[in-house]
């Protein structure tokens, strides 16, 4: 059964390359919004990676974790954007 799910591990390696490229942007980014764009991209790719991980090992619990991670990263992105915008909360 495991050999059928091996292609999800290849997908995970490709997603890891995407995360490394976004991380280069987070380190290099000239302004603060550039870094936030990189962090947002990393969040999305990690959510998809968790879904692919759950499919690779056929464990449903990883996908529940991915849903919660999506909502929490959304809240953190909104708060950082609000902080950049200036003004009071």
């Amino acid at each position: 059964m495991m050999e059928f799910f091996d292609e999800y591990m290849i997908v995970l390696i490709a997603l890891l390359i995407c995360v490394i490229m976004a991380m280069i942007r987070v380190v290099k980014g000239p302004t603060a919004p550039d870094r936030i764009v990189g962090l947002d991209t990393i969040n999305t790719i990690v959510i998809v990676g968790m879904v692919a991980f759950g499919a690779a090992f056929s464990e449903v619990i990883y996908i529940d974790v991915a849903i919660v991670y999506a909502l929490l990263s959304f809240i953190s992105t909104l708060f950082i954007a609000k902080y950049l915008e200036g003004g009071s909360f």
Partner: protein
Amino acid sequence: MWFEFLIYILLGIGVFFNILGGVGLLRFPDVYTRLHAGTKCTTFGSIFITGSVILLGLKMWYLGSTDGSVLAIHTAGALVAILLTNPTGAHAIARAAHKSGVKPVGAVVDSLQDKSDKRTVNKKEEEK
């Protein structure tokens, strides 16, 4: 057999668009174009990868595993969460970048800046 090929094709499209998003994030010159690449491409690729996982769950369910239906339904929930949260976050980031003073590279017209200028002028006239 054709069902497995459909799963592979969806996975290939998803990975291709995610890698395009990463490359665009590295190569584009500007916050707004980087946001364009880093959010749109990854959302589009995520739709296809989660779609392939949903098809995998449906296939496992068809083959008689109760795990498959749970996998498909929860992955659909994750897809809905991605679709709701990702564009909203991108919009908030773009608005925050414009308000914090980052200008688009090579832009001739800045309509949002003109609008906010008009609003401040109107407010000052009302105060007078």
